[in-house]
Amino acid sequence: MNKKLRILVAKPGLDGHDRGAKVVARALRDAGFEVIYTGLHQTPEMIVTAAIQEDVDAIGLSILSGAHMTLFPNVLKLLKKQKATDILLFGGGIIPDEDKKVLYKSGIGKLFGPGTPTSEIVEYLKKYFKTE
C-alpha cells in the first residue's frame, strides 16, 4: 500500500498573480505530496468539483483579494452539500484576526499569513493527517 496524500491548490477570485500558490505547490511536492494545481480565477463550484473528481485529502486556497469572507464559506458550503466534509479546507492570505476567528469557528482549517515559511504549512499538514 502506498497511500499518497493529495492536495488541491487553487487561487480563487479575480486578482492577478499566483506566485504564492505556486511556491506552496512546489514546497508540498518537495515534501512528498501530490499537488493538483488548478491555477487562477477559480470559482468555488470549480474548486469543489475538481476536489471531488481528484479525490483529494485537502484543499488549499490562496486568497489575496480580500474576498476570504465569501470564498472560504462558499467552498465549505459546497463541500457540505456534496457530503465531502472529510476534505480539509485550509488557506493563506491577508486575513485579519477577527475574520480568522469567525472562519475557524465555521470549521475551516489553519489560515496562514503572507510570508509564512512553507515549512510551517508542510508541518501542519503532516501533523493533521497523522493525528486524525
Binding site: M1, K4, A25, A31, H41, E45, A50
Partner: protein, 298 residues
Amino acid sequence: MTIIENNKDHANQILHRIYHRTSHAWRIGITGPPGAGKSTLVERLAIDFVKHNKTVGIVCIDPTSPFSGGAILGDRVRMSSLFLDPKIFIRSMATRGSLGGVARATNEVCDLLDAFHKDIIIIETIGVGQVELDVAGIANTTIVVLVPEAGDSIQTMKAGLMEIGDIFVVNKSDREGADRLTMEIESVLEMKNSQRTPPVLKTVATEGKGITDLYNCIMEHQKYLVSSGDFTKQKREKITSEIVELIDSKIKSNLWQNKKINSNLTLLVEKVIKGQQTPYHASEKLIKIWKNSRGVSR
C-alpha cells in the same frame, strides 16, 4: 480510483466485477514533449466531443519527483473551461516512480471511466522516457504532438515516438518552422512500410485551429482499425499483456512474501561473500526452495 492507485488487491477485486462493462469507450492517447500544448489540445478536443454528444473522461499523467516522491499535477490549469461540464470527468495521476506500473494503474482508471459510461477517454502523458510507449499500449488511437521548436531535433528524436503515432500533430503552427517540421515528419513516415501512413496535421490549439481536422482524423482512424481487423488484433495483444502482467506481479509478491525465501536469501548472501557460493547458483537454489515450499515440481 484512489483505491486502484493505492491498493492492488482491492483494485483487482473491483476491476474483476466491472470488467464486463469496460469495452465501450474509445481510448485516445496524447503524448509529446512538455509544453507542446497537449493539455490545451485536450481541452479543445473534449469540447468537440461533447458537441457531438459524447461523454468524455480525461486522465492526465505527470511525473513523480524521484527525490521527494511528490508531484505537481498541473494539466488542469489549461482545462478550466471543462470543470463544470457534467459530461466530463478529469483525473490527474502521478507516475509514482514505477515504470510498467504507470500503464497498469492508468489502464485501470480508464476501465473505471469506461464502466462509468464515458464514450471517449483521453489520456495525456509527457513524451519522456518509457511512459509514452506504455500508454500507446492502452490507447486505441495514439496522437503524437510536436512543435516547430523541435524542428531540427527530429533526427535525434527517439524512434519509439515516431513508431507509436497513429496521428501526428504539429501544434503551435502559428510559429515559424511548422511547414518544415510537417515535411520532415512526413518524410520519416514514408519510410515506414505499413498499410496506413499516419496523417500529419497542423494545429493552433490556443485558437482552436485544426481541431475539427484532428477530430475527423480520429474518427477516420477508428473506422480504419475496425474495418482492417487491426482493432481485434489490438484487443488480443492488450488482453494477453494484461494477463501476463497480472501473473508476473502475483508471482513476484508471492515469492518475496515467502519467509523461507527471505531467510535463505540472507544466508546465501553471506555464503557468496565468503566465496562459498555464486549469485548464479544461489538464485537457482532459491527458486528450487520456492518450488518445493509450494509443492510444485518440475
